[in-house]
Amino acid sequence: MEMHPRVREQTRSEFDTLIPDESELTANVRIEPGRAYGFFTDTTVCIGCKACEVACKEWNNLPADNIGLTGESYDNTGALSANTWRHVSFIEKPVLRHDLQQPFQSGWLMMSDVCKHCHNAPCLEACPTGAIFKTEFDTVVVQQDICNGCGYCVPACPFGVVDVSKVDGKAHKCTLCYDRLKGGLEPACAKSCPTDSIQFGELHKLQARAQERVAELHALGVANAYLYGTPGAAGATGDLQYLNAFFLLTDRPETYNLPAAPTRPANRVAPALTSGLATVAGLAVAALALFARRW
């Protein structure tokens, strides 16, 4: 990624004001309402440092979930939750590539998981209060002053992301740093990622960059690299169309705790309603015939 010319103007190391459109300097992205933004998480360069988890907690003022060890590799966070909006998963595999790798060398897969900001977002479609909405940046956000904690978004999400907090009784999840985007700042996790495993940007540019990255990896001999959540790929199945936060993976989706072929729950509303009403109508007609007979 080439550096933005405006970077040269910033000679200070301490700031008392915001740099206008700071994201141009840090991510080479100008944030403007009306455009679609997202995350491209390239798991092949994730080093499992959890800077994203920490940056997310700090910026969003989120409490810790689990203080202790899980025994599951270096993952002591466990899962996304109402208080955890980035989660780095660690998968220890004995040998990744027999030809190049010594067995004692890294067999680790690491992935920073996050809300996928689905195009046809099931949580949003399920929300009965309109608390969950699509922002001007094409991201999915829960409005905390409206949510009444019905919890229907929780089973709606095909990725097990959104969660109702036991503390305040509202649904919480990643906002793709809605407040930072409004201020021209790159989301905290992407800004803090030291290897650019998390890339923030305009969605169509990210998708093109991700395709190039897959081609590059294939050329390097990593034949199992593929995208999860781009149009037509795994994770974007069943009428979800595409995910604004998508991933480059090198193993089956389930390895990373992701579903291979999720579906769009709203597509089941009409079949269920028509079948239920038809059953009731059939029995109602039978009842009418019984009550109307003269014998």
Binding site: T70, S89, E125, P128, T129, E254, P271
Partner: protein, 348 residues
């Protein structure tokens, strides 16, 4: 691109092909249940609904009972007005169960109950919870109007206007009642919880039939004569329809590879409690007494208990399927996508 054909994410081929039943006398084949591949330390892939099963299941029961009794009593008094006067009076009370008991249960289950009115901010076709909010609102308004005007009209025999208003409101509550007795199935189906999502059509047929059975059974309690026989016959027909839909949905769970969710306490409650004792048993009792006309309230009570148990246990089995990554991953395989070309495509 067909995901099922992609080597990198296609499911590992099962060792044995899915079993085929060659003759109806053979027992139902057992399809391999669960995902055979990797999971993430056995952790859940989905989050289970944060509903209280007894509370939401109870609401679904009362909504179905009220909705169906509004529909059935309106039909009865339209078809034979004179024979149905007592039925109509009983229905006045039954239709008020959904607004008086059901709605508070729903509000109690919210995690921020004092904001319940935010449900009325929007109307959304993609959200059965929003659809249901409006159905329940329409039903409650018309049920109160119908019951109130009917009660008042009974005391003023000359005021025909009250009776007419009551009839109008009853028809409105009958229509809303049809929706109220079945939208809850759409609410469960339109989620990512595997067991609720696997069989939207047959789950809704079960919910609709179960509601009609409870509506007829509760109207029949204390009723005598021909009306009682008619209501018993309707209950029996509804139970038969429910049993058929139950068999279809279980076949569907088995074909989607998630039938393992029933090998749990919730599953045994659904199969042994709700289906065997609360559905098959009353159906048999009705079958035995239908010709003579039974006196015992037992089949009606068993029907009511069975329906309540069914609504609660299906919530529990759903939670099981969401918490178990082997069931969630199995369900989210490309062969379970709508329109996929696998043998499990028969819609249900």
């Amino acid at each position: 691109m067909d995901l099922a054909d992609r080597a990198d994410i296609a499911p590992p081929t099962p060792e044995e092909p899915p079993p085929v039943r060659r003759h109806p006398s053979e027992p139902m084949p057992r399809w391999p249940s669960g995902w055979q591949g990797p999971t993430y330390y056995g952790r859940a892939q989905l989050k289970a609904a944060p509903f209280e099963n007894g509370v939401v299941g109870g609401y679904i029961f009362f909504a179905g009972l009220s909705g169906a009794s509004a529909l059935l009593s309106t039909i009865a008094s339209t078809a034979s007005p004179r024979a149905s006067a007592a039925l109509e009076r009983r229905a006045r009370w039954l239709t008020l169960l959904a607004p008086v008991l059901g709605a508070p249960l729903l509000i109690y289950d919210l995690h921020t109950p004092k904001r319940f009115y935010n449900m009325l901010r929007v109307a959304k076709g993609t959200s059965p919870m929003s659809i249901g909010t409006w159905i329940l609102s329409a039903f409650s308004a018309s049920a109160f109007l119908a019951s109130g005007a009917g009660w008042w009209g009974d005391r003023r025999p000359n005021r025909r206007g009250w009776r007419r208003l009551s009839t109008l409101a009853r028809w409105s509550s009958a229509l809303a009642g049809a929706g109220l007795s079945t939208y809850t199935a759409a609410l469960l189906s339109a989620t990512s919880t595997p067991l609720w999502a696997a069989a939207p059509r047959s789950l809704a047929a079960r919910f609709g039939a179960s509601s009609m059975a409870t509506g007829a059974a509760s109207l029949a309690l204390g009723q005598r004569g021909r009306t009682r026989r008619n209501l018993d016959a309707i209950t029996a027909a509804a139970l038969a329809a429910e049993l058929t839909a139950t068999l279809v949905s279980h076949h569907r769970y088995s074909r989607s590879g998630i039938a393992g969710a029933f090998q749990t306490p919730w599953g045994r409650l659904e199969e042994g409690g709700a289906t065997a004792l609360g559905l098959v048993a009353p159906l048999a009792m009705y079958g035995a007494t239908l010709a003579r006309g039974g006196r015992s309230p037992l089949p009606a009570l068993a029907t009511l208990a069975g329906s309540l148990l069914f609504r609660i246990s299906i919530m529990g089995v759903g939670d099981v399927s969401a918490r178990d990554p082997e069931l969630s991953f199995r369900f989210a395989q490309p062969d379970n996508l709508p329109g996929a070309h696998s043998p499990s495509r028969a819609s249900g």
